[in-house]
């Protein structure tokens, strides 16, 4: 009982004596007796360490994992390879047991790592400034919409329907309570419908929100969208897949004003949906509007380079209700994983991961169409994820694949009723030709 509590009964006694008390009970005299708990909490009996490990293993064993099954499911979370180094760096207690780096003299490790992370995010996105990370890609997108509204003084956003459905839901939730109006822009051949965008945009739109590659895996043409948005004085908000940025034109070079994304792919395990990290980057002009923590470079007294949390006048502990956001943490350890991952892969490795994934995805796409009776739904170019129409009901197909050791793609009809039979398949660098051939064979049998 009371594991992790070092004080002995003797210690407690001595401490109470020092306080002039004779019982622990007296410490709680300020709590009115009406709210004092009369009985003990009704919780399961405490487990010893050995029992706990057994209990947790039993529960974990009830899950099917991507180690045992071949995973072709993506839709916002990806089964990618994580180099061993990442886990070993993250296991250093100085990183994972530390608090937010408020005391820079004893937090240079976290601070410098975040500075390096911010640099990497800027390099990938082509933006000027990145924050220290946010809860996840979806909430970062919602914060970006709020930021765009604050920056433009407008209260309307246009969100492409080709943005991840869950991200859109989070945008709606955040927006609804702040009085931001959100309208959707449809898609045409899997891409933002440029004609519809032109019809809907006006000079009261704060932000146009797109995703690239979008939820269907399709690559958007950002330059054209940027031109339309900027013509009406709005901001372009782009959600990106960071792996794709090794090869694809950066949103910054296409005119994006705020770039966000889900960083899970960068060295973070699937973990049933979290913890992940959202990244956010913006232009120099909007630097002081960005929510979240930011690390800056400065010097210590002796003149040496050192790092510190900065631009804090945007934040809640100073500004309270006038802050740019209420966020007061980042996903520091997940951002560290991303930083180590990007250091290991480096300039060439990230391109290789992206190219491998893309080639395998294109191989799978061709085979599913030529040999498994699937048909394409969109003709636009895609990255490493694509939608095909399958010959049998999607849920039925996925059930049968599961029996053959395969976790199938995502049924897009859940979110897009017009795409009946649409199957979103993700192919990462982890999938082998052999695994893809098994998938094609099994789908072809239906």
């Amino acid at each position: 009982m009371g594991r992790y509590i070092p004080n002995t009964d003797q210690d407690r006694q001595e401490m109470l004596e020092k306080l002039g008390l004779h019982s622990i009970e007296q410490l709680y005299e300020d709590i009115p007796c009406q709210v004092r708990l009369k009985d003990e909490l009704d919780l399961p009996a405490a487990l010893s360490e050995m029992e706990l490990v057994r209990h947790m293993k039993d529960i974990a064993a009830k899950n099917k994992t991507v180690d045992e099954y071949i995973c072709f499911l993506g839709a916002g979370a990806y089964d990618r390879y994580i180099p061993s180094v990442v886990k070993h760096v993250l296991a250093r207690q100085e990183f994972y047991t530390a608090y937010t780096p408020y005391q820079p003299e004893i937090s240079q490790g976290t601070l410098q790592a975040i500075f390096e992370y911010q640099t990497m995010v800027c390099e990938l996105t082509g933006m000027d400034v990145a924050n220290a990370s946010m809860y996840d890609g979806a909430s970062a997108l919602a914060e970006a919409v709020c930021m765009a509204c604050q920056a433009t003084g407008r209260e309307k956003a246009l969100v492409a329907r080709s943005v991840h459905p869950q991200s859109r839901e989070v945008v709606y939730t955040y927006s609804r309570f702040r009085g931001i109006k959100v309208h959707e822009v449809g898609y045409d051949d899997g891409r933002v419908d440029a004609q519809e965008l032109k019809r809907l945009i006006s000079d009261d739109v704060a932000a146009v929100v797109v995703q690239n590659p979008n939820f269907f895996g399709v690559i958007e043409v950002l330059d054209e969208i940027a031109e339309v948005v900027h013509h009406f004085g709005g901001l372009l908000v782009v959600s990106v897949n960071p792996i794709s940025l090794a090869l694809l034109k950066s949103p910054g070079s296409c005119g994006a004003d705020i770039v966000v994304g889900e960083g899970q792919s960068l060295g973070n395990p699937l973990n049933f949906g979290g913890p992940y990290l959202g990244f956010m980057a913006t232009t120099q002009r909007l630097m002081r509007r960005i929510p979240g923590r930011i690390v800056g470079q400065t010097v210590e007294l002796s003149g040496n380079r050192a790092f510190v949390l900065t631009l804090q006048t945007r934040e809640q502990h100073i500004r309270r209700e006038k802050a740019t956001s209420n966020i007061c943490s980042n996903q520091a350890l997940n951002a560290l994983a991303a930083t180590v991952y990007l250091s290991v892969l480096g300039r060439e490795g990230l391109k290789e991961v992206a190219l491998l994934s893309m080639r395998k995805a294109h191989y799978a796409f061709e085979k599913l169409i030529s040999e498994a009776g699937c048909s394409s739904m969109f003709s636009a170019p895609f990255f490493d994820e694509f939608v095909v129409k399958v010959p049998v009901p999607v849920e039925e197909l996925n059930r049968e694949l599961l029996e053959h050791g395969i976790i199938g793609g995502y049924a897009v009809e859940k979110d897009y009723p017009e795409l009946q039979g649409g199957w979103l398949v993700a192919v990462t660098e982890k999938r082998t030709k052999e695994e893809i051939d098994v998938l094609v064979r099994e789908v072809g049998r239906r």
């Binding site: 009982m1 410490l27 709590i31 869950q166 309270r320 560290l336 930083t339 290991v344 990230l350």
Partner: protein, 483 residues
Amino acid sequence: MKERPLIFEMSKPGRKAYSLPDCDVPHLALEDMVPRECLRDDDARLPEVSEVDVVRHFTRLSQLNYGVDSGFYPLGSCTMKYNPKVNEDVAALSGFTQVHPLQPAETVQGCLEILYRMDRLLSEITGMDSFSLQPAAGAHGEMTGLMIIKAYHQHCGDVKRNKIVVPDSAHGTNPASAAMVGFDVVEVKSNDRGEVDLEALKAVVDDTTAGLMLTNPNTLGLFEGNILEIADIVHKAGGLLYYDGANMNAILGIARPGDMGFDVVHLNLHKTFSTPHGGGGPGSGPIGVKKELEPFLPVPMVGFKDGRYYLDYDRPLSIGRVKSFYGNFGVVVKAYAYIMSMGAEGLKKVSESAVLNANYLMELLKGYYLVPYNRRCMHEFVISAQRQKEKGVSALDIAKRLMDFGFHPPTMYFPLIVKEALMIEPTETESKETLDAFADALIEIAREVEEQPEKVKGAPHTTPVRRLDEVRAARNPVLRWKP
């Protein structure tokens, strides 16, 4: 001292730390897959380094940090307790980490079971009826809870309730979260005992009050003894009561927010329930509510029927999603393991020990520092360096000097209502010896303030870096490396 290179400054073309398999499918040219105009012209300038470079670089960085495993970390309101190692092990089981969030429910029964059980456990611990594990952090939980409050009033047709009342001692996130949800913030002052002033509260609540946000024990470490009266005032005015769970470590098994009249509660699993802070995250900020607010919780919730767990999306009154998937699941696993390790008796002992440690430490320091609210405290307390300030030494200086003694400083300059505040939360995982040593250090520093104040004002002297030029960082922001 020599500057530490950035990882980019170690880069050398041709060096690499990765190895990937050969491509086993047709080698399509990039341009055959993507039109040229969609491809980037220049590479992202990521570093090119060896594996040993990466490992040594980040190991060196880690050595510049101070973690809970390094030593005593008495940050007030942050509950920097020890993070049990076994919880890291069980959360790292592949049965949890290697699971895709969109897999069919029948393949993730273990994950859903953890979420479902946590809902039940946290409900029992707090006296609430239902919990969502979706919010990723305390501030995220606050925002979610306030959305629920707003949605509830709107559902009742009570649309003019646009004000959230917060005490002047509240965490800065409280008013910031209220603003995120489109509420106006009304501050209520504390009385000379450090508690909410009932008359002042009565004067600000009316039919536009959506709710009151309260931390109890509050940020002064004091239990709001009038909590039932406070709840009554707010409820009679038609408002709801929000519990900021940052200070829950004081009352586990002792008292429950649900029994005090709170309608909405958030917890910080990274504080009370021992999960590591990760250098700023990931945390987890589950939100709990009373029965009448259940329909408004975020989607999805986890249900249990006919021996199976399932995700329930059929919740028409829900505020919607606040995050993708189901929250910071990996963090929830660790907190679950913690609760299962402690049991009811263990959790009660946690709070008793946390409160005893705080009172004992406050007693040791009383003769040397001003204690602005000199009464029994809960799990934390606030001292003031006002006396030292008269000698020209500030709370900041004292905090920095503590680093030279091998301790992490307490929270500084908070709560805002105490001048030169140092807010100290020892937690239950510290021994009497550690508390004695910390008190000795603070007493020694008080002596230094009298005898050699310059030594304190120039602190820290022994840390990896000395004091930084923070003004320069803000005035001339350098936020990324450039070649």
